[in-house]
Amino acid sequence: MSTTPTNGSEPVLVVEHLAAEIDGQQVVEDVSLTVPSRGITAVLGRNGVGKTSTLRGILGLIRRTGSVTLAGERIEKLPTYKIVQRGVGYVPEDREVFAKLTVAENLRLAERTSAPRRELVDALFPDLVARRDQMAGTLSGGQQQMLSLGRALINENVLLVVDEPTKGLAPRIVNEVADALIEAAKTVPILLVEQNLEVVRRLAGDVVVIESGRVVHTGDAVALLDDDDLTTRLLGVHADTDSDTDTTTEVAR
């Protein structure tokens, strides 16, 4: 289903020596990472180490240097909209749905081709179908996340960039979001920032751990999470306990 036929071994995204700043402050020092053409690659790290900024830097939403190669093409000089047009679906932290647009309008706005995958999105998120004409700002946090994911999935993409999709969601919704990501990952590789380590365990193949704007560990997700010492040292949490309490505040209305 992927729009570009990859031969399975070529990585879809190669980031080398990415550095990025916001208002003159360096938020990403030196990040190099590779996203394989299949599966979910998770970016982990404590709060404020530059995970979100790394994603935003890749997409050109903040000023960045370094090289970024998407499906074999250098994109670091391109503006955000052209990067996205090359087949990137972006699900930002905090959903960023357009509150004063309806659900249907949010989805229509995201459609980049004449053949959007409306049935697929409807099938994944039946909750949204019944609320097509509702303002997105009146949706619950979970529904807004579904909508944000729907906007990314409505196009065929070569890569999804998904930032903390379970942040602030109730446990049941967390599972629904994880299920949707697993479903999506069958057809498109995903670069994921996620704080909930249980979700990471379920979803991720590879992990990249960032500390102070630099990559400090890459490898297999389960191997990292099974290693208590390493997890504690790199992430400051115990993989088996639900200790990421700062991200589980329910924002659903």
Partner: protein, 291 residues
């Protein structure tokens, strides 16, 4: 009673003019974060060229009047689009410089208009019906008021329909809310910058022709004098909100008219007080989304 009716309808007419200027200002600021000080020049130019064309055809004919409105809107749209493409776009994301350019343009164009048409007001004529009055509840209302109100209402409806029912309208509404996210959906948001300038310029140019009939003259300072109140309207209505601009236009103009009549000519002062009150109590304006 008749005085109240006269003040109310005259106020509505003035509010209609404010709206035609403020609608563009509000959309431009909402989407681009640029306060466009050159907006008054679009209006003045629309008024002058509309008047010239009407004069050529026959200023007292309805055809001349209709064509002058079309010309005013078209020239406003054209000049606004060129302003965005040639002056604003090269300064992308440099908001202070963008605002300074519009300030410079407004000063330069007023001087240019004075050079071409002189600084004295030129008194204009329209179809005879516009100068007549219609009686409503004992008040004699100049007919041009009704035309101004009807055209502004039509403009409001047209812009709302455009924003609600077209893809570009959707992009503008989304961009006012969160421009970065619009680009992150693969949309070149800069195209809609030219579009809001064009739309705003058309409304201002149309407003220029109507203002010249409302006040009975055109002059190089016509746009500037309306622009000040349009800015106040835009802030009170909430930057980026079209309906906010419409509601605030009417409120400000009514307040101004009634204060001028009943509080011995303090209309402008009362408006500034209202602005201060709104900024203190509700800094985002009546219908503004957020700070």
């Amino acid at each position: 009673m008749s005085t109240v009716v006269l003040l109310a309808i005259t106020g509505l007419g003035l509010g209609a003019l404010y709206f035609l200027v403020a609608s563009g200002l509000s959309l431009i600021y909402g989407l681009m974060h640029v306060l466009n000080f050159a907006h008054g020049s679009f209006l003045t130019l629309g008024a002058f060229l509309g008047w010239m064309v009407a004069d050529r055809i026959d200023a007292t004919s309805w055809l001349g009047f209709a064509v002058s409105m079309l010309v005013g809107a078209a020239i406003g749209a054209l000049v606004a689009a060129l302003t965005e493409l040639l002056l604003i776009r090269p300064l992308y994301e440099r908001h202070i410089e963008q605002v300074l350019v519009t300030v410079g343009l407004s000063l330069a164009t007023v001087a240019l208009f004075e050079g071409i048409w002189g600084s004295d007001p030129r008194f204009i004529r329209g179809p005879a019906w516009l100068d007549e009055t219609t009686g409503i509840a004992g008040a004699r209302i100049p007919n041009d008021r009704f035309v101004v109100i009807a055209v502004a209402a039509a403009a409001l409806i047209a812009i709302l329909l455009f924003l609600r029912h077209t893809r570009y309208g959707m992009i503008i509404r989304a961009g006012v809310e969160n421009r970065a996210m619009v680009t992150a959906l693969g949309i070149d948001v800069r195209k809609s910058f030219t579009l809001v300038f064009t739309l705003g310029g058309a409304a201002a140019g149309l407003g220029g022709v109507l203002a010249s009939h409302y006040f009975g003259y055109v002059s190089p300072s016509l746009g500037g004098s309306l622009l000040i109140f349009a800015f106040i309207v835009t802030v009170i209505g909430g930057l980026g909100s079209l309906t906010g601009a419409a509601v605030a236009s009417v409120l400000v103009a009514l307040l101004q008219q009634f204060a001028n009549y009943y509080l011995s000519g303090t209309g402008d002062f009362v408006i500034v007080l209202a602005l201060a009150a709104v900024l203190l109590v509700r800094p985002t304006g009546l219908m503004g989304a957020r700070a």
